[in-house]
Structure formats: structure tokens, C-alpha cells
């Protein structure tokens, strides 16, 4: 690629720095909102330490102040607080937070925004398809080829082709949601447990539906019973049946918790370092700074890597879970030729 330092790139860097300053300013404004809850926090000194300059879920905090009740109850409307005992996770404020929109609208708003963005992007990239592809079309073709090779190498060509659109959509949707926090005033919906559970429920339904459609009802029940072959196997059915049912339920829960935990961790990391940038400015005597030192910039690479890995892990495990309910999945794998490039 062209590695010259062009005007466009300098402008892009400048815009990113400016955006970072805005984010930091919004964080300082947010600090003022937290003056009221700080009184309530004084009653719970252990939680006070976890409040940062960029902390916050306003609604949960206000409820805490008003009722002085359990913090988990205070965050019942949604938000990161629900995940860790009501303490406010430090995070970079997003647009809806700055506009004081209630927390419960954040996940649907941002996930729909990502979906609409992807829809428009792919429509735009795939318009006017040519035999000799342009850059946009090549990008899409490369992505589809990668997903096709990947899914078919696990499920086999025949069954794999059925799930390429599902797994491909899942990967790109999760990846974009994970990275949405890097856009100034953006927010990762996958850092909330509601979103990740919704995704994993979709995977769960798909896996169970696939199992039912490929194995039939009796085959499905036989699989759940541990596929007993002899008398001992049938005797052990009452033990294996609950184990298998629980195993099916564990899979979506583990998918959801892993994605939620990792993306929340990345968000908190960015929030903590942004807050540190503001505190440094405050430390030199400027008590109401309009910008912060963008200390979180080096962590953006980590977020990029982590988000890609988590989206890949989700897609990989979805494909593997589908493969486990297909009849004779091992034969499919052996039959599949090595994907050539």
C-alpha cells in the first residue's frame, strides 16, 4: 500500500485527536452529573473507589441516590452496572449518554445503528457487480470466500453452504458492534449482557432447529439421551439426559458471557485510561480542562485485536456447535478437500 504521509492522513489523525478531546470534555461534564450520587456513595465507601472521572450510568446512580437501596436494583434498567454488583464501570461517554437518553435505549439504538450501517455499506459495496471486480467488490468477495472456506471446512460443502450466510452475518455484525466503541461518541452494544444473550439465543435456536431438521425428533431425543447402544447405556439414560440437556443450555450461556466479559473489559480499559488522561491535566493545576491527554490511544490496537478475536471465537464456536449436531460430522470433515487459495 502507499505509505506516503498524505494530507488526508494527517487530517484523519487530527480529527481523531479532536474527537478524543471532545470525549474527554464530555467526561468532565459527566463528572458534574455525578455530584449527586457521590453523596450516596459516601454511604457505600467500597463502591466510591470504583467511580472514575469517566464513570457512569446516570439512571442507576440517581436511583441509588434517591432510594439508597441495593446498587444492583439501582441498575435494573440496564447498563454495565448490572454486571458487577452495581458499581459504575468507567467508560467513555457515548452520544446517547451525552444527550441524557435513558440507558434502556442504548443497546437497541446502537445495535440497530450497526445493522443499518452494515446494510447500507454492503448494498453500496455490492452495487454494480462486474466480472473484473473493483476494490469494494473484491473486498466482499474476499470476505465471502474466507467465510465459505472456513464454514465448509468444518461442516462440509453440502451442509456448510446452508450456514455460510448465517455465520458470515454473525461475524461481521459482532465485529462491527465490538468496534463501535472506537468511533467517537459510539458505544459497543456487545458490552451489555442483553445483547450478547440475544445473539447466543439466536445461535441456540439455530443449533436446535438444525439438530431437529437433520436428525428428526426421535434422532434428536436419542442424541440427547447419549446415544445408548447397550443395556448399560439405557440404564444410564436418566443420568445422561439431564447432563446433555444442561450441556445444550451451557453453550449459549458461555458464548454470551465470554463475549460480554471481553468487550466490557476492553471498554473499561479505554474508559480508565481516558480518565487517567483527564486526571493528568487536572494534576497540573487545571481543574476544569476541556480536553484530556489521549492515553487510551495505544490501547486501540488491543481493542482491535480483542474485538476481532472475540467475533472470530463466536463464529467458530457457532459453526462447531452446528457441526456437533449434524449426523456424522467427522465424515464431513474428512471428505472436505483442503481449501485452496
Amino acid at each position: 500500500m502507499n505509505s506516503r504521509i498524505s494530507f488526508k492522513r494527517i487530517l484523519a489523525m487530527g480529527l481523531m485527536l479532536l474527537a478524543s478531546c471532545f470525549m474527554a470534555r464530555a467526561a468532565v461534564a459527566q463528572e458534574a452529573h455525578q455530584a449527586a450520587p457521590s453523596a450516596a456513595v459516601a454511604e457505600h465507601p467500597s463502591q466510591g473507589e470504583e467511580h472514575s472521572a469517566v464513570a457512569g450510568h446516570e439512571e442507576g446512580a440517581h436511583e441509588e441516590a434517591a432510594h439508597g437501596e441495593n446498587a444492583a436494583q439501582g441498575n435494573a434498567e440496564g447498563g454495565h452496572g448490572g454486571g458487577h454488583g452495581g458499581a459504575h464501570a468507567p467508560e467513555i461517554p457515548d452520544l446517547l449518554f451525552v444527550l441524557k437518553v435513558p440507558n434502556r435505549y442504548r443497546v437497541p439504538a446502537y445495535s440497530i445503528a450497526v445493522a443499518v450501517f452494515l446494510l447500507l455499506l454492503f448494498r453500496w459495496l455490492s452495487r454494480n457487480l462486474q466480472k473484473v471486480p473493483g476494490r469494494g467488490q473484491s473486498l466482499i468477495e474476499l470476505y465471502v470466500e474466507l467465510i465459505d472456506n472456513f464454514v465448509c471446512s468444518i461442516l462440509g460443502r453440502e451442509a456448510g453452504r446452508r450456514f455460510v450466510p448465517f455465520v458470515g452475518t454473525l461475524w461481521v455484525y459482532i465485529w462491527c458492534m465490538n468496534l463501535f466503541c472506537l468511533i467517537p461518541f459510539g458505544f459497543s452494544p456487545t458490552s451489555m449482557v442483553q445483547q450478547t444473550f440475544a445473539l447466543s439465543i439466536i445461535v441456540f435456536v439455530t443449533v436446535q432447529w438444525t439438530a431437529l431438521s437433520y436428525q428428526g425428533l426421535m434422532g434428536y431425543l436419542f442424541h440427547l439421551a447419549g446415544e445408548p447402544r447397550d443395556a448399560i447405556g439405557w440404564v444410564l439414560v436418566p443420568l445422561f439426559l439431564p447432563l446433555h440437556i444442561m450441556g445444550e443450555l451451557i453453550k449459549p450461556v458461555s458464548l454470551a458471557l465470554r463475549l460480554y466479559g471481553n468487550i466490557l473489559g476492553e471498554d473499561i480499559l479505554l474508559g480508565v485510561f481516558s480518565g487517567l488522561g483527564i486526571m493528568l491535566i487536572q494534576g497540573i493545576g487545571w481543574h476544569d480542562p476541556w480536553f484530556g491527554i489521549p492515553l487510551h490511544f495505544p490501547l486501540i490496537a488491543l481493542v482491535l485485536l480483542g474485538s476481532t478475536i472475540q467475533a472470530t471465537v463466536f463464529a467458530v464456536l457457532t459453526t462447531i456447535y452446528i457441526s456437533l449436531v449434524l449426523p456424522h460430522y467427522e465424515e464431513h470433515e474428512e471428505r472436505t478437500p483442503a481449501p485452496a487459495h
Binding site: 444442561m246 451451557i250 450461556v253 465470554r258 478475536i309 464456536l317
Partner: protein
């Protein structure tokens, strides 16, 4: 004679590296194990709690659920580990 054909540049995002899904599968499987071990007892306890609250079962059902959940998590982890081992063996045999 000079070749007048313009040289076709490769696209910048085309990797020359051979695509291998096995690595991704291994990473995915390795990542699955801690999640399964964590989610097992959680799901088991949750089901036990639900049985106690909504179906009127005695309290020890939670403990049974916890134990079953843990066993189920371990079982799923063993399945993932077996598959991971198989992937590694396949990769090794292919390299040889």
C-alpha cells in the same frame, strides 16, 4: 521485444499466506473451555433455583443443579479438548 502489457498490481489486502481454518478452529475451541467451565455451574444453579421457586422443589435441588451443571461443564470441556487434540493431530500429520 518490450512487453507493452501493464503490470497488474496485486490487491493490497490479498494475503499470500495459505488459508487454513484449522488454526481458527483451535483458537475457538481453546477459548471455549473456560467459558464452558464457568457457565456450567451457573446454568445448573439457575435451573435448581428456578425449580425451587417455581416448582416448589426442596432447597437441596440447587446443590444437585450445581453439581450437574459442573459435571456438564466438565463434560463439554472434555469434548472440546478432544476435538482440539484431533485438530492438532490432523495439522501435524498434514505438515509431515
Amino acid at each position: 521485444m518490450k512487453d507493452d502489457k501493464p503490470k497488474q498490481k496485486p490487491l493490497p489486502f490479498r494475503s499470500k499466506r495459505r488459508y487454513d481454518a484449522s488454526e481458527y478452529r483451535q483458537v475457538g475451541l481453546a477459548f471455549a473451555i473456560p467459558g464452558l467451565l464457568l457457565a456450567g455451574p451457573l446454568v445448573g444453579y439457575g435451573l435448581g433455583w428456578a425449580a425451587e421457586i417455581y416448582l416448589g422443589f426442596p432447597e437441596w435441588v440447587r446443590l444437585v443443579g450445581l453439581g450437574l451443571g459442573f459435571a456438564s461443564g466438565v463434560r463439554e470441556s472434555v469434548v472440546a479438548l478432544k476435538r482440539l487434540t484431533k485438530e492438532q493431530e490432523r495439522e501435524r500429520s498434514r505438515d509431515e
